[in-house]
Symmetry: C2
Subunit: 86 residues, 2 copies
């Protein structure tokens, strides 16, 4: 199997799997259950994966982790917006 | 920076970030909020990442995704145990 295709499928699956949380937070306008500290640790880790992907020059790793960074930064912004409203 | 070390740090951070959910489910003995379908998609994606890691022979990818598979299979088992109890 083409390894790049394998990585892209893997990245697509793990990306799809994190959408429900984002959708739930956006729909319910409630981010109380999300830990800010863990979100910051996660974003740091994912950013390092993107960096790793660039060093190794591996597109699947760059794409899937950059997408995950975007999703989690959106969650982070939601945490601030929705917590201030409560 | 050594790329393997970078990957291991990245993997450690993303691994730490998923522990609170596991701890919460185990503590509260409640897995109702977890979507079974998404968990199966996530486990499939993570398993493909492990496979990708083996093909590319990259230890950080194998280790962090194998650990994530373990955590999420534990969550999957919790889903079955705690849903049957309710």
């Amino acid at each position: 199997m083409n390894e790049e295709l394998l990585g892209l499928i893997a990245g697509a699956l793990t990306s799809v799997a994190m959408m429900p949380q984002l959708i739930k937070v956006l729909k319910e306008k409630n981010a109380e259950d999300i830990s800010l500290v863990m979100l910051l640790i996660l974003i740091s880790g994912l950013s390092l994966w993107v960096w790793y992907g660039f060093i190794k020059d591996e597109l699947p790793i760059i794409l899937s982790n950059a997408f995950a960074v975007l999703v989690n930064i959106t969650l982070l912004i939601c945490c601030f917006i929705f917590k201030n409203k409560a």
